[in-house]
């Protein structure tokens, strides 16, 4: 599935560009500009010339969104099993494929989750990783994201999930499919507890991830240019024979079609997420006990004078 997206998207990922000139320079995956690697990294892998947002690792996302030193990964030791005994003749078995993915990516699964804080606000963060098995949703990814939601319920922490996925992991069959139901249920548990869920959609977010938790956010933030949809571009073109128009299924397309709240460039994401959580959690105080109200007021007072984030309306 990973190769599928490499082929389907007109963009070469940032990692690939970096391999070509590992020391000092990288080439932008969209405009082909040569960029000074250190500046490019400092700009969170956003091209200074064309604004292309190259793919990030889990560590990059944590650095982008969380307060320094606040990240505490949980259950990083969970590993996939092979529930179907998926070993079709002539193809790599699931067990072999898992080993290959781990070796190639240096990761051990397509998601990580844990505790952290954003502008001092405690959150649960889960990040999906396109670098491992195309970010596909299997039992381990499902378990980690579900535990992130449950952490949100247990500790009344706002939950942030950064999605990047090709969809359900075929090799786990119905077990993968049912992760969608499990995660929608877990997101509902968070909703019932009235704790905010901010969903961040990055390139690409497709299939079973789009069709379950990723679109259930109270606030949905998309990264500029990210391809977001249920059926991926290749599936649409193969199934219907339609040729997709330019810009179809991008973050900007989804904003126009009413599907996401905000398209926000990387550098502004942390401030916007903090503001959204502060405002949504500020309201909860009304319904909560006086003690909880005092606590929440104290937590949010520090930032009431912040000015509106200028980029919030910038992507129409």
């Amino acid at each position: 599935m990973r190769n599928l997206f490499r082929r389907a998207l007109p963009l070469v990922s940032g990692e690939a560009a970096q391999e070509a000139a590992p020391e000092l320079w990288v080439r932008c995956g969209r405009c082909r500009e040569m960029l000074y690697a250190r500046e490019w990294e400092a700009a969170h892998r956003v091209c200074a010339k064309c604004g292309f947002h190259a793919r990030l690792t889990v560590a990059d996302r944590v650095a982008l969104l969380l307060d320094g030193g606040s990240w505490q990964e949980l259950d990083g030791s969970l590993r996939a099993t092979d529930p179907l005994g998926f070993a079709p003749p002539g193809r790599q078995s699931y067990a072999e494929k898992l080993a290959t993915e781990s070796r190639d990516s240096g990761q051990n699964e397509a998601a990580a989750y844990g505790r952290g804080s954003v502008d001092g606000i405690p959150v649960a963060l889960a990040v999906l990783d396109m670098g491992y098995f195309a970010g596909t949703l299997g039992a381990v990814v499902g378990e980690k994201v579900a535990r992130a939601f449950e952490l949100g319920v247990a500790e009344r922490r706002a939950v942030i999930v950064v999605s990047a996925s090709g969809g359900a992991r075929q090799q786990e069959g119905v077990v993968a499919l049912l992760q969608m139901a499990k995660l929608a249920a877990a997101a509902q548990a968070l909703a019932a507890a009235r704790v905010p869920f901010v969903s961040v959609l990055t390139d690409p977010t497709l299939g079973g991830v789009t069709a379950s938790f990723a679109t259930l956010g109270d606030c949905i933030i998309a990264e500029p240019g990210a391809v977001i949809g249920f059926a991926g571009p290749r599936i649409i073109e193969q199934t219907t024979g339609e040729k997709l128009p330019p810009g179809a299924q991008t973050a900007e397309f989804q904003l126009t079609h009413g599907m996401v709240d905000l398209v926000i460039a990387r550098r502004d994401q942390k401030a916007a997420i903090a503001r959204v959580i502060r405002l949504l959690m500020g309201g909860t105080a009304l319904q909560a006990s006086a003690a909880a109200r005092d606590h929440l007021t104290a937590a949010t007072n520090g930032a009431t004078t912040m000015q509106p984030v200028p980029a919030l309306q910038g992507f129409r």
Partner: protein
């Protein structure tokens, strides 16, 4: 660039003369010019106040529609220390004739929803002149439900000629979208304060205008239909809009007298368009005051009182029995 309404002409002449005196005084500051300046200033203030104190309903309509009048986004940004605009109905589109999102007024987190007409031609077109499509009302519906989920009081701002009346709007269920909002607002378990900031016509205004407290800016209008539409129904000719404006009792003082609204928010002398920041301050003060009172009431009591409030509206007499 100043836009002068017909009835503001006398003030306009005074303002021109004052400008001349100011310029002359800057070159040659004589005591005579200083006296003239003071006298003109006083005259201008008095005349403006006199005009705005006795506006006819049709003149009020002109003020409510003034192109320089502050609009929902001006209030959202001007009144709030934080505001994040959320977009989209999650089903069809993002209608720019309605804006909304969480915000903070005087330290209190709220949900703001309002129509936005736009100012220059391009923005007005993008926003369909403030006439929302069904997806706009459905975005509002989503934000109302989010407010209920997080216990955010709702502040709505009405400023619309009415819901968009195109065939495409009918295809996507304009009436259905409006009705769903009325029903949801009727039982939303959070405080709701509604304000007509400009023009509030018909079901298109009401669909974001049901709540615990209903405010109007001093020169705003609130009506069952635009004066033009009412005229074409009653007179079969929209040219009789001024007479319709008279008959409809659409001004804030008339509606307060009829007990159909709860409060008038005063505008700066000469109307909100002359002093937007003064208007924003006045509205923030009024809203904070209303919210302070409402947040103290338990949600169940709020909803019960809201039901009673709307249930009472309408006078009739019982021919066969006792008058109501």
């Amino acid at each position: 660039m100043t836009v002068l309404l017909d009835f503001e002409k006398p003030v306009g002449d005074l303002r021109t003369r004052l400008d001349e005196v100011e310029r002359a005084y800057a070159t040659e500051p004589t005591s005579d010019l200083e006296r003239q300046r003071a006298s003109l200033k006083a005259d201008l203030a008095a005349r403006t106040q006199a005009i705005y104190r006795s506006l006819t309903p049709w003149q009020t309509v002109q003020v409510a529609r003034h192109p320089h009048r502050p609009q929902t986004l001006d209030y959202a940004i001007g009144m709030c220390t934080e505001f994040v605009e959320f977009h989209g109905d999650r089903a069809f589109g993002d209608d720019r004739a309605i804006i909304g999102g969480p915000a903070r007024i005087n330290g209190r987190a709220v949900m703001i929803v309002g129509q936005q007409r736009g100012r220059e031609t391009r923005e007005r077109l993008e926003r369909n002149f403030g006439s929302p499509h069904p997806e706009g009302y459905r975005k509002a519906h989503r934000l109302f439900q989010m407010a209920a989920k997080f216990g955010l009081p709702v502040v709505t701002m009405m400023d619309t000629p009415g819901a968009s009346p195109g065939l495409a709007d009918e295809e996507r269920g304009q009436g259905w979208a409006l009705a769903a909002n009325l029903a949801t607002l009727a039982t939303l378990p959070v405080p709701i304060v509604c304000v007509v900031v400009g023009e509030g016509n018909s079901g298109g205004a009401l669909a974001i205008g049901v709540g615990d407290r209903f405010l109007m800016l001093e020169h705003a209008i609130f009506s069952v239909a635009s004066p033009e539409a009412a005229a074409s129904i009653v007179w079969k000719d929209s040219k009789h809009a001024p007479q319709a404006a008279d008959a409809l009792k659409l001004t804030a003082p008339d509606l307060l007298r009829l007990k159909l609204i709860d409060r008038i928010v005063p505008e700066p002398v000469g109307g909100a368009h002359g002093d937007p920041s003064g208007m924003i301050t006045n509205l923030r003060t009024a809203l904070s005051d209303e919210l302070d009172q409402l947040v103290a009431v338990p949600a169940a009591d709020l909803v019960a009182a809201r039901y009673a409030k709307y249930r009472r509206i309408g006078a009739w007499f019982d021919q066969g029995g006792t008058p109501s």
